[in-house]
Amino acid sequence: MTEVQLFSTCLAEEFFPEVNDATATVLERLRLKVTPIRGAFCCGQVAFNEGMREEAVDLARRFLNSVEVGVPIVVPSGSCTSMLKIFYGDLLDGDPALAAKALAIRPWVFELSQFIVNVLKVKYLGARYERAVAYHPSCHLMRELGVRSEPMTLLSAVAGIKICELRDREECCGFGGMFSVKFPHISASMLDDKMARIRESGAEVVVANDCGCLMQIGGGLSRAGDKIEVRHLAEVLAAR
């Protein structure tokens, strides 16, 4: 394997450009040629989750036409990976040609930590990060993709890192895409608890694999005036 396609995801492209840089850096250090998928901006999950299927199908078509089958597609997001790998099946069942393409790429789509640990069989990336870190596992990553231990495997191999225990870490941070603006009061209540757990963990940095969680947790910490930072896993793995 010498080449991968990198899907930036809309949130990372617009709000967290360093996540894409870091993801590319990590992959390049593993001697892979990284080709960004420029022909698509969003996987369509926002529309799909709102029940707007037509719009979602258009975006799925766009995505599927922009990628090559047979070359791994690496995504720095558990949520977008679930959309591409799992929910495209439901979304596209009315369009046989698109459904066939979705099925064909399915085995080639990987979330970043899943790809590094399970496909490349690599744990140690030569990263150094001298901070106290709490890891927040994102919901789709855990429960749709079944990726539970991989991020921690990679974090544990980072030199200088101190990993803090995050209580109730598997509980959702309350982001949920449009949920966060449609039911902001419930979302904020979930966020409050997540932030309380983060504070008691003693971490200086919260790490997650999804920009959605980073937006939610980072936005909450900023509003509360907390000094705790949010970082994507890729940024920690790229640090030297």
Binding site: F41, G51, R53, C139, H140, C172, F179, V181, M215, G220
Partner: protein
């Protein structure tokens, strides 16, 4: 279709998240359930195999529901039961009320049953001048308060022992105590007298065995057993989805139901009811009726995605793990069935008035992980979101949310043109830059206003890496 309360979910959930006392009660009760569950699950290695078996049997039963219901009906009739198929809640209510009137029933006792909540049976009986007393302790408590259950399994989960102590003082004039043993003893002695005078009993059904015509009741207090054996007339009310083929299938469900529901290995009482009293029997009702309720279930059956929700055995575990249920409690859902499974069932029972519920989820999937019959709840919620957004009568949303949805639609349409949206992204970044502090915006307009009500919004910073 049953009536759905007018008050809306947005209002009720806003009030509920602000209620810290409610939160504390829900958190401690659901944590206790989940702790017990983790323990009994760890002690029972075959749990996952039993879960697979239950999923398989139930899926198969739902696929052959028509045949199984025919078998069940003929077995029930063979055993001397009268069977009535109710198309909707009103038919079920009318049948039971007319029967109670015909029997001259004065004291109706009810075992714990969500299906009778679904059909509003107590109100209908009250309107006919017949008193019905809930005899499950939790149900008894919420009935005394003039409330509905706020959880499928633990109806009074929203109340503390102090609340209950106060209720008993107010209602019965007894000295205040918050000791659970004393409160339970008080309720028990009152309920005992009611059971002894009961002439008409109603319960739900956990499983109905087609092969033998046996109805299974699973409970902890004996109220189901007493309600089904002491009165002269007994009515069991069940949804069409409760039927399973064989008696031997039952063990798989009994192995998982109590474990996920309450963290018990088995409930204290498991009653097998096969027809009314026969000659020589010492107890049991003289007459037994079985009301088999559709009320929107066959419409769910007709939908290949929704159908899976009929596998539900009403264990309530998805409520206990749901981060949203645990913050707003059952009453905020404004539906008999709250929580994740309720958000699937309610729109089918109550129509578009409950149509917002499938959207009130982050799709975190904790429910799907714990579900003993492996219902893919998030997937069904997504399916319902699509159904609610299309068709002749798409859902109406509050104005702020309608605006956010329009924003999402506009984004999705624009995102079809990556170059355009990237340019717009850069433009937005430029415009917003002067307003940002430490990388965040404190206030945002339009669709993002609801976001910045509670947290800061990250400043847009489109890609800077040179294209490779």
């Amino acid at each position: 279709m049953s009536e759905f309360p007018k008050a809306d979910f947005f209002e009720s959930s806003t009030a509920a998240v602000a209620d810290h006392e409610l939160r504390r009660k829900l958190e401690s009760a659901s944590a206790r359930h989940l702790d017990h569950f983790a323990q009994v699950k760890a002690e029972f290695p075959p749990y996952d195999d039993e879960r697979d078996a239950a999923h398989r049997i139930k899926t198969d039963a739902i696929a052959h529901l028509d045949e199984l219901l025919i078998d069940l009906t003929s077995k029930l009739e063979e055993r001397g039961c009268k069977v009535f198929f109710a198309e909707d809640a009103a038919q079920a209510r009318d049948y039971i009320v007319a029967l109670a009137q015909a029997k001259g029933a004065k004291n109706v006792v009810k075992g714990k049953s969500m299906t009778t909540e679904e059909i509003d049976l107590n109100d209908a009986l009250a309107k006919a001048g017949i008193d019905a007393v809930e005899t499950d302790l939790g149900e008894y408590i919420v009935q005394l308060r003039g409330e509905r259950p706020s959880h499928i399994i633990t109806p009074a989960i929203h109340l503390s022992k102090e609340d209950i102590g106060q209720l008993f003082t107010d209602k019965f004039g007894i000295e205040y105590t918050a000791e659970p043993e004393k409160l339970t003893a008080e309720a028990r002695s009152r309920l005992r007298a009611i059971f002894l005078a009961a002439d008409f009993g109603v319960t739900g059904v956990n499983f109905a065995i087609a092969e033998t015509g046996t109805l299974i009741l699973v409970e902890n207090e004996g109220n189901g057993r007493l309600s089904s054996t002491m009165p002269e007339t007994f009515v069991a009310v069940m949804g069409i989805e409760k039927v399973i083929p064989r008696l031997e299938d039952l063990s798989h469900f009994l192995e998982i139901l109590a474990r996920t529901a309450t963290g018990q290995k088995l409930t204290t009482y498991t009653s097998f009811i096969t027809g009314p009293r026969r000659e020589g029997d010492l107890d049991g009702p003289a007459e037994m009726h079985v009301v088999i309720l559709d009320n929107g279930r066959s419409a769910m059956l007709a939908d290949p995605v929704l159908r899976e929700a009929l596998n539900c055995i009403r264990c309530g575990a998805c409520l206990n793990v749901c981060p949203i249920y645990r913050r707003i409690g059952g009453h905020a859902y404004r539906s008999v069935y709250p929580g994740p499974i309720g958000s699937i069932v309610s729109p089918n029972l109550f129509g578009s008035a409950a149509g917002h519920l499938p959207f009130a989820s982050t799709l975190c999937g904790a429910c799907k992980d714990i579900c003993p019959v492996k219902i893919d709840i998030p997937r069904i919620l997504l399916h319902l979101r699509w159904k609610e957004s299309t068709g002749k009568h798409p859902l109406k949303w509050p104005r702020a949310i309608e605006r956010a949805r329009r924003g999402a639609r506009r984004f999705a349409k624009t995102a079809r043109y990556p170059r355009t949206i990237r340019t717009l992204g850069k433009f937005a970044a430029m415009v917003l830059k002067p307003f940002a502090h430490n990388g965040y915006l404190r206030r945002m307009p339009g669709p993002f206003r609801n976001w910045t009500k509670y947290r800061d919004f990250p400043r847009p910073r489109p890609h800077k890496r040179p294209e490779s």
